[in-house]
Amino acid sequence: MNANQPIYQQLADLLREKIADGEYVLGDALPSERAMADRYGISHLTVRKSFALLEEEGLLIRIQGKGTFVTIPRVSMDMNKIQGFRSFLENKGVHVTNEVLHCGLRKARHKYAKLLKIDENDDVFECVRLRLGNGYPMAVEYNAVPYQYVRGIEQYDFKVYSLHDVYASHDIQIVSEHQMLEVVKVTNPQAKLLRLDENSCVFLLSSFSVDSAGRVVEFTKIYNSDERIVFYVAAD
């Protein structure tokens, strides 16, 4: 935050930070313009200007006669970038939390031997997470990683850490991501987790990550709530 900035921008920065830190979460009402003006000793017109700015960014929504509420912008996932879900959202000022639904080791068997190009008897680390933005369910993500590349991965708490953190500590450098994007109807349990009706529409993104040694180090499928996410791609 910069003291030389106009006051309304300083207040907008402050509110952005509070939303990103989870102090205000999705659906929370912000204090009224008047209360906010009193708290910081500024004019209510200045407060109104900050609210308008954040509304434009999609972080707030003002409802006539009800107040100002925290919401989530539509996030554009850039398919050109190798970047985790978390950093996409955090760049938009959205506070990301994870609920770990399952984590553990299993044998590759037919499915992952084929997808990850390993032996059927090799171990695979599987992780299922619900990803929330400002407390709102945005995606259900399934990851599978060959255990031989990331020994010790089961020690990580994926509520806090990302797979990219694990790769960094194992000197794994992802050089390409091969992605397939589909539009499908969602079924339970994913529908329930995303607070959507069964048979409503979601994006299903499947991808393989390849590292600098040419190994398939991850297979991921993500059910993305289409209410909050759009995809962007630039092709040459």
Binding site: D78, I82, E177, Y232, A235
Partner: protein, 244 residues
């Protein structure tokens, strides 16, 4: 919801996928009866039906009432990397592509189109609506907007059949689209759109907004496409160098 159910349907699904692979079931091949699959997997019918319902929803299987469950064919894959023109992209993938021209008019750019193409409001633009086919299956309805000033007499070309719009822009007008930006959303098809697209079972579709830009940064084409999601998927390879 218990954590167990999280993976329960995934596990049954894995068994079905493995069965399809190991028995080399080709697209449109029938799955064995529910009873036989339940015995083979040692699971109950509810669990099997749940997994099958999910695979039908995700276009991996399809069912025909009274006949059973069948393996769905793989989706047509549009690779968006180095593949800008529909005709060139699909043609090179071994698919036969063609178009019907639904309309081809000159209109005044409304605010959305003028802003996207960086024109002033009301600038004349071509509006070309095409129904695109892949292997004789209607797959998308595409509306392209192009500034008239860049392409005099473009409307004398007949884009029905296999003529590529980007090919014409390049060969006849010397305008080469170097880069295409796409935003991909979902949408629900109207009854009319469903009919045009050959009545797919699903109401859901891709809605893609694209902007074609030349090497000099000229916005040379803008298009809106509605594409069947049951037959079509978008693939893209991101590599470390292309992060923008």
């Amino acid at each position: 919801m218990s954590k167990y159910t999280q993976l329960a349907s995934e596990n049954v699904r894995e068994l079905i996928e493995e069965y399809i692979d190991e028995h080399h079931l080709a697209p449109h091949a029938p799955l064995p009866s529910e009873r036989r699959l339940c015995e083979a997997f040692d699971i109950n019918r509810v669990a099997l039906r749940k997994a099958i319902a999910q695979m039908v929803n995700e276009d991996r299987l399809y069912t025909i009432r009274g006949k059973g469950t069948f393996v769905a064919p793989a989706k047509y894959l549009e690779s968006t990397i180095s593949c800008i023109s529909f005709t060139r992209c699909w043609g090179s993938g071994g698919y036969r592509v063609r178009s019907d021209v639904l309309s081809f008019d000159v209109s005044e750019a409304n605010i959305k189109i003028s802003q996207t193409l960086n024109l002033s409001l009301g600038t004349p633009v071509y509006e070309l609506r095409r129904l695109r086919y892949v292997d004789e299956t209607p797959i998308s309805i595409e509306t392209s907007y192009l500034p008239v000033s860049l392409y005099p007499d473009l409307d004398e070309f007949d884009f029905s059949g296999t003529l590529s719009l980007y090919g014409v822009l390049e060969e006849h007008y010397g305008i080469k689209i170097a880069r295409q930006q796409q935003t991909i959303r979902t949408m629900t098809l109207s009854e009319k759109e469903k009919l045009m697209l050959g009545s797919p079972k699903s109401d859901h579709a891709f809605y893609t907004v694209a902007l074609g830009i030349t090497g000099d940064g000229v916005c040379a084409e803008h298009s809106l496409a509605i594409s069947r999601s049951d037959l079509y998927a978008i693939t893209y390879i991101a590599d470390g160098s292309s992060g923008r």
